[in-house]
Amino acid sequence: MDKTLTICLVTLVVGVLNFASRVSFIAWFARNDTPPLLSRALRHVPAAMLTAIAVPAVVFIAPGTLDLSAGNAKLVAAVVAGLVAWWRKNTVETIVVGMTVLWLMRWLVG
């Protein structure tokens, strides 16, 4: 397949798929009641999904290379940032502390 055609088709098809996923339950539950078991499960979506997204970005230093040691600057920065976030509930403070720790670690460890 021609490259430009591939790119256009991918854009359209994936665009439609993404919108379909995004609108799916929002449209469905506008017309139907949420089953009680499902609504209990949905309470856990933020904790489960935010963890599943954030953890790999912190513990893998390269694709497939896990580093749980104190030498992993991202891990140390994430733990400190997590404590600040837990205590302060503030996004800006969490970012500032996390990036400062990351840069300090890089500067100290080299």
């Binding site: 994936v14 798929l17 499960a41 856990h44 999904m49 935010l50 599943a52 896990l66 976030a85 503030n90």
Partner: protein
Amino acid sequence: MRAHFSRPAFFEGVRDMLPMLMGIVPFGVVCGVGALSAGVSPLETLAMSLIIFSGAAQIAATQMIADGAPFAVIVLTCLVLSLRFLMYSAAMAPHLRLLDSRWRNLLAFLLTDQAFASTIRRFRESGDLRANASYFLGSGALLWVTWGVATLAGVLLGSVIPSSWQLEFVVPLCFIAILAPLLRDRVTIAVFVVAAVAVVALDALPMRLSLICAGLIAITCGVVADQWLSRRG
């Protein structure tokens, strides 16, 4: 459309999304640089950003286009990556059901990891539908515009932000900023631990299936733990 719009709440949404842009801009530039090296034109890159509107899917797709992967494989991988939107959609649905369908469709289009993370707490805590919807619109619209501009900058100008600054790390930090304050009861802490262990243990799965599988496993554990605790009294 007007009926649900509140200007102050819209700008509150814009304001609260601003810190997240520190991570989104470098991430978008990286995504644009990826498109550049895959031979995707600036116009095509912009179209992908504005239509697909998902960094994970765009990076995967441009990488596979560069590698000459079959069309079906590219679409299947992006489909797997989009499964998490089903969960966000379900979690958002009870809060949006009273909106008219144009608003629901518009907000659904703008539903991303970041928009979900930054709005779900507000939706749970406040029942003011009009303000919540406008807040979501403000956050989502700013993110959409910024994402388009950042990826376009990447494909046109290359790596304008030095990678040694590691600003992409702001993206996980934003998720941590929302996640950590949730960890105040035993069940949520259990969900966190299970999701963290599962996503690492399942990392070898193809097409980043680890993300959706770890999420489902952790949610199931949360539901079981809730029932166990309530039965014990």
